[in-house]
Amino acid sequence: MKLIEAKNISFSYQDKPILHNVDFELYQGDVLSLVGQNGCGKTTLLKILLGIYKSTGSVKLLSKEITKYSRKELAKLISYVPQTHQIPFDYTVFDVVLMGRLAHIGLFSNYSLYDKNIAIKCLEKVGILHLKDNIYSQISGGERQLAFIARALTQESKIIFMDEPVTGLDYGNQLKLLKFLKELCVEGYTFVKTTHYPDHALYASNKVMMLKDGKVLDVGDINTKLTTHNIKELYDVDVEIISRKNGYKYCIPTL
């Protein structure tokens, strides 16, 4: 099933062109990795597809223009895991995760026990239930990332956008997080994530979209499109892609 179809997206920020005639498609069950250099427009594209930035061209979510949705309706369909950042107020991890239920409650109601139980379940699922009452700004970067993922799950939307989910995590936590994302795919979530690591794209996604200078370099199945040639085009480095017997592929630089 086609979830998102965007055509001819162009976007400029303060007269500086960021995206130029980008087409984008997302199907149910996809795990799509957005790759490309810093500043190539990955995050901008995510925010356009989330309806946060307004672009030219059309973005359709479930065959309906994204501008026709209210923010609440959108939040029930797509959740967003931003890059971790500092919050100037001392919210607890639970406070932050519970905010995922905001789209599900009305103006005059408060979070119910049902909402709180969902938040607790999601904290348990990502494995940080023990941090529930800790102050969000005082836990580690990896734990904050997990808290944001728990919040996205709490939102109960089937599409999840992630902006560089492993950035700032140590080696072990990066791999644990990727493994966890792979597990979530089985449960029927659809993911779009930006990443700087071809390895991670190969490991945890089935599709790839390569952006260069605001244009689509190539898009499609991860195994056929994420090639040494395309990586050379994208980052100007020589790499070798090695297949292992277990079916996984690895990208190794030939320095």
């Binding site: 967003y80 931003p82 001392d90 406070d95 789209a103 103006l107």
Partner: protein
């Protein structure tokens, strides 16, 4: 969150509400006309239609002292303290900036200019209210637009500077109004009122204004869950399903409106809107669903204590705005210590 904080959260509302009720009752005894506790009990009995041995004259005397003089003043202190603190907490969360308040953003200066202008020109009560609100609103918008020119309102200090510029502008305009005011009647009245004093709030004013102020506080309380999301940043709030533009407009208009009304009641009472939310956060964490109502209670208690103190300690009455500044500044300096690790 430590265990004692959890317990505090649970009983905090109750304890603060009880303290406020107790304070309201004791405040009835503070003043030149002495009321004894027995007389007060008798008075309450008779008020409820029970038998008591108060003479008719005594009863009427007590009734006028309590209902005409002391109660309106107490209600004014409670509602103004709550209004300024809740507005301050809402502004701080919405602008993701723990350094702003109705005073800092220029609302109080703008509103006082609007009110003084109306008084000097002899406008009707309704138009004075309206101009107080409009100029309060203009002051916030000016502060915001200054911060937008130089950064996308993300820089905490730029917004504070924008507020200082806006405040100074409206203080200057206010000086023009004062300069042209009649130096024998209007000028002393305006000057004394602007120092922040509850002695100008007549009972009819208090009854008329406290209802819209209370409604405003309630609206802000309903929006507190959206304020939580907004304090993570605009884009994240949108992704969480918040119509950020609509929520911001409503919060700015309501917070400015009720702060402006507080200026009509009692002039400029600074510092409360800045320090009370900090104290609330220090005691109860960051969740605005808790911080807004707690700020309301703490602000009411604080202003009531300050008002009583300003009447008891010296034989003459000091304008309450001066007292809140003298007490508020050292508290704020202490609270600033937290700035290093975030609020």
């Amino acid at each position: 969150m430590k265990l004692w904080e959890k317990i505090l959260n649970k009983i905090g509302f109750m304890v603060l509400t009880l303290i406020l009720i107790a304070l309201i009752n004791t405040s009835l005894f503070v003043g030149n006309y002495e009321i004894s506790f027995e007389e007060y009990l008798m008075f309450l009995k008779q008020l409820l239609g029970l038998e008591s041995n108060l003479s008719v004259e005594k009863y009427e005397m007590l009734q006028s002292v309590i209902f005409e003089i002391r109660l309106p003043r107490i209600i004014a202190a409670v509602i103004i303290g709550a209004t300024l603190s809740v507005s301050g907490a809402a502004f701080q969360a919405m602008f993701v900036n723990p350094l702003v308040s109705p005073g800092i953003l220029g609302v109080l200066s703008g509103a006082s200019f609007g009110a003084a202008l109306g008084m000097v020109l002899g406008w009707s009560w309704f138009f004075i209210n309206l101009s107080t609100f409009i100029f309060g609103m203009m002051a916030v918008l000016l502060a915001l637009s200054i911060s937008f020119i130089y950064s996308s309102a993300k820089n905490m200090i730029i917004l504070v500077l924008g507020g200082i510029i806006s405040s100074s502008l409206f203080s200057a305009l206010l000086s023009i109004v004062k300069y042209t005011a009649d130096p024998y009647n209007a000028l002393p009245a305006i000057t004394y009122w602007l120092m922040g004093s509850l002695s100008f709030s007549t009972s009819s004013m208090v009854w008329n204004l406290s209802i819209p102020m209370l409604c405003g506080i309630l609206i802000l309380l309903f929006f507190s869950k959206y304020l939580n999301a907004l304090s993570l940043g605009d884009e994240e709030a949108k992704a969480l399903g918040v119509d950020t533009f609509k929520v911001k407009i409503i919060v700015i208009v309501v917070a400015t409106f009720i702060s402006a009304l507080s200026v009509i009641l009692a002039g400029i009472i600074g510092w409360i809107g800045l320090i009370i939310p900090h104290i609330a956060r220090l005691l109860f964490g960051a969740d605005n669903k808790i911080i807004l109502p707690i700020s309301a209670l703490l602000g009411a208690i604080f202003l009531l204590i300050v008002d009583n103190a300003s009447r008891i300690i010296l034989s003459f009455e000091i304008p309450i705005g001066i007292v809140t500044a003298i007490i508020g500044i050292p508290i704020f300096i202490m609270v600033l210590k937290n700035a290093k690790r975030g609020f």
